[in-house]
């Protein structure tokens, strides 16, 4: 399969590439140092229609196709994987649950603000004891008059420090297992709700990751997303989209690190010639590029299936697993190309290396991705494309 983009997709790719180079790149160093969320940048991205790329125009979005959205994450992540994940989480996990499961009032209230970048979205599922085993939530929601009263805590919530709304999952009926989980739109100023400590992360500095605390938090019943008991369905519905997004982020990381490694290998001279003229380095670069090209094909293949509305759960997991593992390998090798300088913060490759690691972990660990892929191998492949269920209800 070849990657022919439409004229519009190609124009978007160029626009995002130029925007990333001119507007995001100058901020990378200070984000790295201060770990501050780039709020002004996100607002600007909103002005250019980047914060609601696949969101319908009637809800204030750009209404471009899914592939355009993936192109944007890919191009931005080449420059800043942190901004890449902010965009991915905001769109895939902040906007989409409301778009797909929200009622008219909820859409009207939240979508234009989110798609315009005036609001930032977050997704609150993970808890200290419920990571890959997402069904083991402990946060509870009890209906009391016009409110649900939420109690519990969440951890590792991306965008948390800057988010205006949190798609929050809590148990409304503990006897029903996954069918007893409900989803809520929690606004940041909700009484009884607070943002806990910010994680000091290895990488992705500037993307705010925090703990959330619910102490008798009063969430209006109007903010129940879908119906009671639909929470797990809502959480699982966007997995493919989220996974392709992270696969694209990891692709951007690998390409970014590779570009730096190639440029450096041509400049750095040892034994009287550039190290790129040493076969040991040339072959290393060749392998890095080949693996990254393979990742690119997997990512765009999954994105194209999704773009056409076809089931892509297995391909999304394959792309996520492969592209993120590749990002880890390529960034490791990029540091090797830089030698001692690669280990120094003076050069950008150690940042890509630290940013790459988490892509193997979040949005479903790569072990979970293998579980998904192996499950698909056990169903009739011929029929799997038409499967409406994404094969994950039991995981």
């Amino acid at each position: 399969m070849d990657l022919y983009l439409t004229e519009e997709q190609e124009m978007m790719r160029r626009m995002v590439r130029d925007f990333a180079r001119e507007e995001i790149a100058p901020l990378v160093e200070s984000m790295e140092e201060t770990d501050e969320f780039p709020l002004a940048l996100i607002r600007k991205m909103g002005e250019y229609g980047l914060m609601g790329i696949p969101t319908p125009e009637e809800w204030g979005g750009t209404e471009a196709d899914f592939l355009s959205y993936i192109i944007a994450i890919h191009e931005i992540s080449k420059v800043s994987p942190a901004v890449g994940v902010i965009l991915s989480v905001h769109t895939s996990l902040g906007i989409n649950p409301i778009l797909y499961f929200g009622n008219f009032e909820q859409k009207k209230k939240y979508l234009p603000r989110l798609a315009g970048g005036h609001y930032i979205g977050a997704f609150a599922l993970t808890e200290p004891n419920a990571g890959s085993d997402a069904a083991k939530l402990r946060t509870t929601a009890v209906k009391q008059g016009d409110n649900y009263i939420l109690n519990g805590s969440k951890i590792f919530i991306t965008n948390a420090g800057a988010a205006d709304i949190f798609i929050t999952f809590a148990i409304t009926d503990k006897d029903k297992g996954t069918k007893g989980i409900s989803a809520f739109i929690v606004e940041k100023d909700t009484p009884g709700f607070s943002i806990g400590k910010a994680e000091k992360k290895m990488g992705l500095h500037g993307s705010s990751t925090c703990e959330l605390i619910f102490e008798n938090a009063e969430v209006p019943v109007d903010n129940l997303l879908g119906e009671e008991g639909m929470g797990f369905t809502i959480a699982m519905a966007n997995l493919d989209v989220g996974r392709i997004g992270i696969a694209a982020q990891a692709l951007g990381i690998a390409e970014g690190a590779l570009e730096h490694a190639i440029a450096y290998s041509k400049e750095r001279k040892q034994f009287g010639k550039p190290i790129s003229a040493q076969q040991a380095i040339g072959f290393k670069l060749a392998d890095m590029a080949t693996q990254t090209e393979a990742a690119r094909l997997l990512v765009y293949r999954a994105a194209t299936l999704r773009n056409e509305g076809l089931n892509c759960s297995m391909e999304a997991s394959m792309a996520k697993r492969f592209s993120t593992d590749n990002a880890m390998k390529v960034t490791t090798e990029a540091i090797q190309v830089f030698g001692g300088y690669g280990y120094s913060r003076e050069y950008p490759v150690e940042r890509y290396f630290r940013d790459a690691k988490v892509t193997q972990i979040y949005e479903g660990t790569n072990q979970i991705q293998r579980l998904v892929i192996s499950k698909y191998l056990l169903v009739d492949k011929k029929n799997s494309r038409e499967l409406k269920c994404n094969g994950l209800q039991t995981i």
Binding site: E7, E8, E10, M11, M12, R14, M15, D18, F19, E47, Y48, G49, L50, I53, E57, T62, E63, A64, S68
Partner: protein
């Protein structure tokens, strides 16, 4: 106000020029809106938003040039005209004649062109077109104010500043510093496809290609000679000075 922007698609300024069989190779090259024309597009959109009216883009070029027009439409221009006819591709003389033919029966108040194109760099299209249309022109502007019929421009004159007052219709050429061009927004890109694009050739324009044929003949295209590394003198300072004077006289022949 009807604003016309003359736009050219050029090589990306970061591209390396490769000459193959006596011509500049376009293989794998990225094309962009000529940066000076981008200032023209930005200024036209800003003026339109202030005083109302329409921005029409005009280019002479092959199919690929439509991408540059679409990008400018995505930035906010209203419509585009492309003259896509190999018989009408030529030097500045030809292009200015063709543009004049496109514009002579259209309504316009202000024409904005780039100061020059970064590929051939002649800087002649704007001035020639103004002469063809018999309207005033102000080149290399860094500021423009339109108040009713009155136009006030600031003009960059080799680092000095000239303030020029004139009236509509007028042609101006955009110099660096005029503005900071916006990016095409993503919704703008989505809408660009629906904006009108007129495609014209010689017969549509009632133009005899022979009448506008380039008087210029290109005999050879070559890259500048590779620069040799500089010479570093050493030894006693007084001797170095002597040697330097010698070299300037005899080798470089500049004194």
């Amino acid at each position: 106000m009807n604003i016309i922007v003359c736009l050219k698609q050029t090589f990306d300024t970061e591209e390396k020029i490769v000459i193959e069989n006596g011509a500049i190779s376009e293989d794998g090259v990225e094309f962009i809106i000529n940066p000076y024309d981008e200032y023209a597009v930005e200024e036209a959109i800003k003026l339109r938003d202030e005083v109302g009216g329409e921005v029409t883009l005009v280019t002479v070029g092959p199919d690929r040039a439509e991408t540059a027009l679409r990008t400018a439409l995505a930035m906010g221009a209203d419509r585009a005209v492309i003259v896509n006819d190999e018989e009408l591709f030529g030097d500045q003389f030809t292009t200015a004649k063709v543009l004049a033919t496109v514009l002579k029966d259209r309504e316009y108040d202000l024409i904005i062109a780039g100061n020059m194109a970064v590929d051939n760099g002649s800087g002649q299209i704007g001035p020639r077109l103004a002469e063809e249309l018999n309207i005033p022109q102000v080149t290399t502007i860094t500021k423009i104010d339109v108040d009713g019929n009155k136009v006030t421009c600031e003009r960059d004159v080799e680092g000095d500043l000239e303030i020029i007052e004139t009236t509509l219709p007028v042609l101006v050429t955009a110099q660096q510093g005029l503005n900071e061009p916006r990016y095409p927004s993503l919704p703008g890109i989505m809408k660009a496809k629906k904006k009108p694009m007129e495609r014209l050739d010689a017969s549509d324009l009632n133009l005899d290609p022979a009448a506008v044929q380039s008087p210029t003949v290109v005999e050879e295209i070559y890259l500048p000679a590779k620069k040799d590394a500089g010479k570093i003198l050493s030894g006693d300072l007084a001797d170095q000075v002597k040697e330097l004077v010698q070299l300037l006289h005899n080798e470089a022949k500049v004194v």
